[in-house]
């Protein structure tokens, strides 16, 4: 078996050479022996018999060697085949993933274009009305200008979001302006805004019972809560309730945003934090660029926090944000500077 192992090291192309060398060696040995025996003149029969035995031995050894060679080659082919299969599978998976990302990117371009065109339509339209119609009342003029102003601000937010994403993409860390932030006030501000913009939904806010202070960027945390509540509203039916609950432990603050919406499948959940990912790409899908959860994750993680989702299709979704609590050394004096820029 050791010799067999030795032959495994021979490359398939070298087998003919090995066979040839062994054949030459054995034949030379046999011929030499015959010549020697003839030289000392033994009986001819013995010489012939010896020669026949040597030739047979030669044939047997050659047969065994070629068997070895075939086994080695078959073994190697099997290894190569397995490797090829594995690579083909890897390639197919990679290819499917690339196609999925590519589709997502094209879908994103279409949505981004749509998201930009909508405020642009208002800007172009209302400004043109102001230009061509001199007969508008003061009230109508003000209304047109208000639309223009609102849509310009909306446009700026979209562009800001896109810039944030491209910054994160290029590996740049989000710049945070740290201060003590009362998360409960941030949540209340967000909800107050939504009570006006989304009167179709009920909003319930449950406080932590203590001060909900974190060390972070109030504006960015506002952005996180806004994305989460906005998703909850977008993906749940009119008349349903969105619940925002704050719970506090010794070290952390846990905020949960729950809706009674359509929920997510396991597959959708797996991609939820990817940029541009939108579970529904039809014309009926809620508006948005698929950046909300992606941004929320990056902002929360930049704060040293964690974000996670629990969802059941048809029942609803809850997004949890856990942030480290702010602890001031010494006793609490009761005069916090609450950074609320909005």
């Amino acid at each position: 078996m050791k010799i067999a192992m030795l032959f495994r090291r021979v490359r398939p192309g070298q087998w003919r050479l090995v066979q040839f060398l062994v054949a030459v060696a054995l034949s030379s040995f046999a011929t030499g022996m015959v010549l020697c025996l003839i030289a000392i003149r033994p009986r001819a029969l013995l010489v012939v018999a010896f020669w026949v035995v040597m030739t047979a031995l030669n044939a047997i050894i050659l047969g065994w060697l070629s068997g070895c060679a075939q086994r080695t080659i078959r073994h190697r082919l099997r290894v190569i085949e397995e490797e090829l299969e594995r690579r083909a599978e890897e390639y197919a998976t990679l290819n499917a993933e690339m196609r999925r990302l590519d589709l997502m990117k094209s879908a994103f371009l279409a949505t981004a274009a749509h998201e930009l065109r909508t405020p642009l339509t208002s800007l172009q339209g209302f400004s043109e009305i102001l230009l061509i119609r001199g007969d508008l009342s003061e009230e109508q003029r003000r209304k047109c200008l208000t639309y223009i102003n609102q849509q310009a601000i909306h446009l700026a937010t979209i562009v800001d979001d896109l810039l944030d994403v491209s910054r994160i993409e290029s590996g740049e860390a989000l710049k945070l302006r740290y201060d003590v932030v009362d998360l409960f006030s941030v949540v209340e501000e967000v909800v107050t805004a939504f009570r006006i913009s989304a009167p179709t939904h009920h909003f319930v806010v449950e406080g932590p019972g203590t001060l909900a202070l974190v060390w972070g960027d109030a504006e960015r945390l506002y952005q996180v809560m806004q994305h989460l509540v906005s998703n909850a509203v977008k993906y749940s039916p009119v008349g349903s309730t969105v619940t925002i609950r704050l719970e506090s432990t010794d070290d952390s603050l846990k905020t949960s945003v729950s809706d009674q919406g359509i929920g997510m499948t396991r597959e959708e959940l797996a991609h939820a934090f990817e940029k541009f990912y939108r579970a529904d790409l039809s014309n009926l899908a809620p508006e948005g660029m698929g950046l909300g959860l992606f941004m929320a994750r990056h902002i929360v993680e930049a704060h040293g926090g964690e974000i996670s989702i629990e969802s059941t299709p048809g029942v609803g979704t809850t997004v949890y944000v856990v942030l480290p609590r702010y602890k001031k050394p010494g006793n609490y004096s009761g005069s916090w500077h609450l950074c609320l820029s909005r």
Partner: protein, 122 residues
């Protein structure tokens, strides 16, 4: 007075189109969702319907609304103009397939829209 129905889920776009068309001798109607559009169209029988493609509410997009309008004998004679933020060929083809008579791409110039509406309704 000829009736025009504007269908868009975004109130500011509805307001924009309405403000634009109010210059003309038209009676302007508005609907914020697909089902509402069908209801108003059946009741008011407008001559022209400006229909947005992207409408999330009521599980009915502009194409579906158009298909239903064209399938209903009460509303099939209305001239349907798809108002779409997507100028993509596939959208235009889909609009044609469900019976839309014409399309208009956002963002649009109110003056151009006005001219087009005037031509359609004259």
């Amino acid at each position: 007075m000829k009736k025009i129905l504007i269908v868009d889920d975004q109130p500011e776009i509805r307001d924009l189109v309405a403000t634009t068309l109010r210059i003309g001798p038209y009676h302007i109607l508005q609907a914020g969702s697909g089902p509402e559009a069908i209801e108003v169209a059946r009741r008011e029988r407008p001559s022209l319907i400006l229909l947005d493609v992207m409408m999330p509410e009521g599980d009915m997009d502009g194409f579906e609304v158009c298909r239903r309008l064209k399938a209903d004998e009460k509303t099939r004679d209305a001239f349907v103009m798809m108002l779409t933020a997507r100028g993509q060929k596939s959208d235009i083809e889909r609009g044609k397939a469900v019976g839309a008579n014409d399309y208009f791409v956002k963002p649009f110039s109110p003056l151009e829209l006005m001219t087009k509406v005037y031509e359609v309704l004259k």
